[in-house]
């Protein structure tokens, strides 16, 4: 749980130093400055509020500094792995920089489709001189190709106006399985990730042992048996927008999704929904550079990344979306929401109060077991 502790200390630090001090760190020139660079760059991201936060936090500032550069967006991150593989096989690479989740980065790295990078050559050191590799920390650098940006989490939101609950509010993960006290439909993701972990935790397995138990057939049986308790009360979602919609329509009273989606549901759309942070599951998102870029193209990407992943820029991103910056040094600089003007720190998944009982998805483990468990999970769902 090192990721948690690094994030926690940095977040604690942010409270101690006063989170609002906007420091403008000295910008260092990128190592490729002065070399020939292409003026065209295609960035692939997720679209929506997340891409907007990237645009505001570092793409627009970068374009101001480099007015000749022309950036094209492609909102294909959800299919990035398959598309990159197809491009790689056809030897026709049209993307320069791709935003993917850590698990996808690992897969692309394994397939040799993403370029292996030395993080200290790609990302600037922290303002106090700490090398990027230490500033991000080992737990963020999950694959040799991965350049982290943010930590987000899968967590639960619940409606605050359910009459049948008689004034009780859920406060811990196992309340999901308690249909007596908290009747109503739940929304869970239609894949095994997180669901199996949560089920085991509520079946009495210690958080640290979850993956050891899941490795055995009995462990999976146990998790599925636990999920059986609520199977009839569950709507299974596939897209991150499903749960907020289901919660807003009153279709479900409880639902897991990305914490940023819940933030916008609660704070921006003002719905009667609250967060339940207990046993939130951290996941990471970041950049990969596709393998095989031309030199000029690669220089442009490196120049951009040097700027876009520095301490100040990652902190700026948190003004637009409630995802935690991947650098420890960015945490103290997280300020207020750009439009709502509310303090963002309490809405970060990494905020100490929210992170008291959190876990990090084990990517390497899932890379091994994903296909088997997915087959079992889908078969279980179909029964």
């Amino acid at each position: 749980m090192k990721l948690k502790s690094t994030l926690l200390t940095s977040a604690a630090l942010c409270i101690a130093t006063g989170a609002f001090a906007e420091q403008h760190a000295e910008m260092t020139e990128s190592p490729v400055a002065g070399e020939p660079m292409s003026d065209e760059m295609t960035i692939v991201s997720w679209g929506g509020a997340y891409q907007e936060s990237q645009l505001k936090a570092y793409v627009e500032p970068y374009l101001e500094m480099n007015p000749d550069v022309n950036i094209t967006w492609d909102e294909s991150s959800a299919e990035a792995v398959a598309q990159l593989r197809a491009m790689n096989e056809a030897n026709n690479l049209t993307w320069d920089l791709v935003d993917v989740t850590a698990a996808d980065a690992m897969r692309l790295c394994d397939e040799g489709i993403a370029m292996e990078v030395d993080i200290d050559e790609i990302a600037a050191p922290a303002p106090d001189g700490t090398p990027a590799s230490e500033d991000f920390g080992e737990d963020m650098l999950v694959a040799d190709c991965f350049i982290p940006q943010i930590a987000y989490s899968y967590t639960f939101g619940y409606r605050t106006d359910v009459d049948e609950w008689n004034g009780e509010t859920p406060s811990e993960i196992c309340d999901i399985f308690d249909t007596e006290t908290f009747p109503g439909q739940r929304a869970l993701e239609r894949r095994p990730h997180n669901n199996l972990e949560w089920a085991l935790i509520c079946d009495g397995v210690a958080m640290d042992d979850v993956y050891d138990v899941l490795e055995t057939d009995e462990g999976v049986d146990r998790a599925l048996a636990k999920l059986d308790e609520i199977k009839d009360d569950t709507v299974w979602w596939t897209s991150g927008a499903d749960t907020p919609q289901l919660l807003a329509d009153g279709e479900v009273v409880f639902g897991s999704t990305y914490n940023g989606r819940l933030f916008s549901l609660i704070e921006e759309q003002d719905q009667p929904v609250e967060m339940m942070w207990d046993a939130q599951s951290y996941d990471l998102d970041g950049w990969i550079i596709p393998a095989g870029l031309e030199d000029e193209q690669l220089n442009r990407v490196k120049d951009f990344l040097w700027f876009a992943t520095d301490t100040q820029r990652l902190a700026d991103q948190a003004k637009y979306i409630s995802y935690g910056p991947a650098r420890a040094s960015s945490a103290p600089m997280v300020g207020e929401h750009a439009e709502l003007g509310i303090d963002m720190a309490p809405h970060m998944p990494t905020n100490p109060e929210n992170a008291t009982n959190a876990f990090v998805q084990n990517y390497e483990w899932w890379a091994d077991y994903r296909d088997d468990l997915d087959a079992r999970f889908q078969a279980w769902l179909s029964q």
């Binding site: 299974w236 088997d372 079992r376």
Partner: protein, 568 residues
């Protein structure tokens, strides 16, 4: 599509008839000759061929376009369902050594040495993780095993490298290795290249290993040549400046201790080798098998892992097709998947069943509409036709999401039912996230594909047939059933084929409204294409689906007759 044209239907002077006449004449004795003296048959065939070529040339652009953009990609994708050369290409030495393995226990030291060499090369080329993900489809855990091994494998042979270098520092020098391994012709080329002024302009000539080295030190030569190639292609460095990998020293040790014939080389090199061969006999040894099992990962002692490598070592495999029908290829042979992982047969059955249901509900809903449209005055029917076509002009996603709003438990339909008191508030109907949802939404989306062919066929049925039937005493029902309906069957046929084939391949709508019981096989194919990257399995599932459709089409042709299909 009724075929009344075709050359056979014509009598008189058509080229085909002339050929036939010529043929008959030929059989009955004297050959018929054309004006220039050649047999008439040959000269006709020639002119006919010219005509056919011209026709072919006219359709060639379209044909080429379809071949390149449609048939070739599909064929390429389907070919992946049997293609499996990744194992034998990434682990060439290991696959050969594994032939000797009896499938029991852990393979011998020699196999592990081959594995070490293969994985060293693979990890430099970054192929080992790709192989790991491939084999992980078959045996869980292989993916991280290969990833882990790739990290540690460059320690392999370090002990020999140290001992050779301790013995004589010349072993550290790239120049020693060059004189030992490089082809003399290549060295000449290389010197000429190095003497150039603008070295950067032309690439270094590709390394070539000398036949002498291949003869005298086969293992070392093979590995060194791979090392040199990778240094040149991957790292863009020169083998003349790099110390070889540790494992090259291990190969050298194996060559020197395994019946080395010193006669091949001359001069300094011979002395160096002779000295090394003598010393190598008393070198401290390293057990590669132990290194793999104890240092890297104990899973290397698992016969299951080795069995998987062996079972998938041939360049073509039935493994994907077996997986696609809930079987698996194991070291022990073909067996069924564990019951709790069987999903594909279920999904195939469900896809067929639901496509049929959707097709039938489209017929039931579409027939009366088409009937109405074809019997209304043109002005009204055109207006109504626009309403039928309207869904075509709306995005598929919008339509599907609209169904979500309508069908969900707190949705419009349930609200109305509760309001008029048909359904109790606590007992709202489940109309979405199950098969019902998929059937309703897909029937709506595919309905125009049924109505349009029906409408265009019904438009051509002359109304006086029904009037004639009635005037001869038929009731309304008899007139419809015996006279009108049989004439509309070609429209039903065309609509059914369209709707059925389209619905078999649908995946966005079932994904959004299908929940867990209303998804199709195509959702699984999409998962394997975009999430698990198991394209082989996706291709196998796709091939089966394609074969299914062709089979159904064939049966349809046999039972109904494809001539009975009309789009108008």
């Amino acid at each position: 599509m009724s075929s009344a044209t075709g050359p056979d239907a014509f009598t008189g002077a058509t080229p085909d008839n002339a050929i036939r006449d010529a043929d008959r004449a030929g059989k009955s004795g004297g050959a018929m000759l054309a004006a220039d003296g050649t047999p008439l048959k040959a000269s006709l065939a020639k002119s006919l061929r010219a005509q056919k070529l011209r026709a072919l040339a006219l359709i060639a652009p379209l044909l080429i376009f379809i071949m390149v953009t449609f048939i070739a990609p599909i064929a390429d994708m389907l070919f992946r369902s049997v293609e499996n050369d990744i194992v034998s290409q990434t682990l060439p030495r290991t696959v050969v050594e594994l032939d000797r393995w009896d499938g029991e226990g852990v393979p011998d030291e020699q196999t592990f040495r081959a594995l070490g060499a293969d994985l060293m090369v693979a990890s430099e080329l970054k192929n080992h993780t790709r192989l790991g993900s491939r084999l992980n489809y078959e045996t869980t855990g292989v993916s991280s095993l290969f990833r882990q091994t790739g990290r540690d494998v460059d320690d392999l042979g370090e002990i020999y490298a140290d001992q050779f270098i301790d013995l004589n520092e010349a072993w550290e020098e790239p120049s020693t290795w060059m004189s030992l391994m490089a082809d003399p012709a290549w060295i000449e080329n290389h010197e000429a290249w190095a003497a150039q002024e603008d070295e950067d302009e032309t690439p270094e000539p590709r390394f070539r290993v000398s036949p002498t080295a291949q003869q005298a030190l086969p293992r070392t030569a093979r590995l060194f040549s791979q090392f040199a190639t990778i240094i040149q292609t991957e790292d863009e460095d020169s083998p003349t400046e790099e110390e070889p990998w540790n494992i090259v020293y291990q190969a050298l040790y194996e060559d020197l201790t395994g019946g080395y014939d010193a006669g091949a080389y001359g001069g300094d090199i011979q002395a160096l080798l002779a000295n090394a061969a003598e010393a190598a006999a008393s070198f401290e040894q390293m057990n590669v098998r132990d290194f793999f099992v104890e240092e890297i990962d104990e899973d290397w002692a698992d016969p299951q892992v080795w069995g998987t490598i062996e079972a998938f070592s041939s360049p073509y495999t039935a493994g994907y097709f077996l997986s696609a029908i809930d079987m698996q290829l194991t070291p022990q042979g073909i067996e069924a998947q564990p019951e709790d992982q069987q999903i594909y047969m279920l999904l195939f059955q469900r896809t067929m069943f639901m496509s049929m249901t959707i097709m039938i509900s489209c017929i039931l809903l579409g027939y009366p509409i088409a009937f109405l449209l074809s019997n209304l005055p043109l002005r009204t029917s055109n207006l109504l036709l626009i309403l039928v076509l309207l869904p075509f002009w709306t995005s598929l996603l919008v339509r599907t999401s609209a169904w979500k709003v309508l069908l969900q438990q707190q949705g419009v339909i349930n609200d109305i039912l509760v309001w008029i008191g048909l359904v109790a508030d606590g007992n709202r109907l489940e109309l979405i996230n199950n098969q019902t949802g998929t059937i309703i939404a897909m029937t709506h989306i595919l309905l125009p594909f049924m109505i349009l062919p029906l409408y265009s066929v019904m438009k051509t049925i002359p109304p006086h047939y029904v009037r004639a039937a009635k005037s001869l005493g038929a009731t309304n029902w008899t007139a419809f059933w015996r006279v009108y309906f049989p004439q509309s069957i070609p429209g039903i046929g065309a609509g059914s084929i369209l709707v059925f084939i389209l619905s078999i391949g649908y995946y966005i709508t079932p994904e959004i409204v299908g929940g867990t019981t209303g998804t199709f096989i195509s959702n699984r194919i999409a998962y394997h294409i975009s999430t698990s990257l198991n394209w082989g399995l996706a291709a196998a599932l796709g091939s089966i689906l394609l074969a299914f459709v062709l089979l159904l089409y064939y049966l349809y042709d046999r039972i109904v007759g494809i001539d009975n299909v009309s789009l108008g």
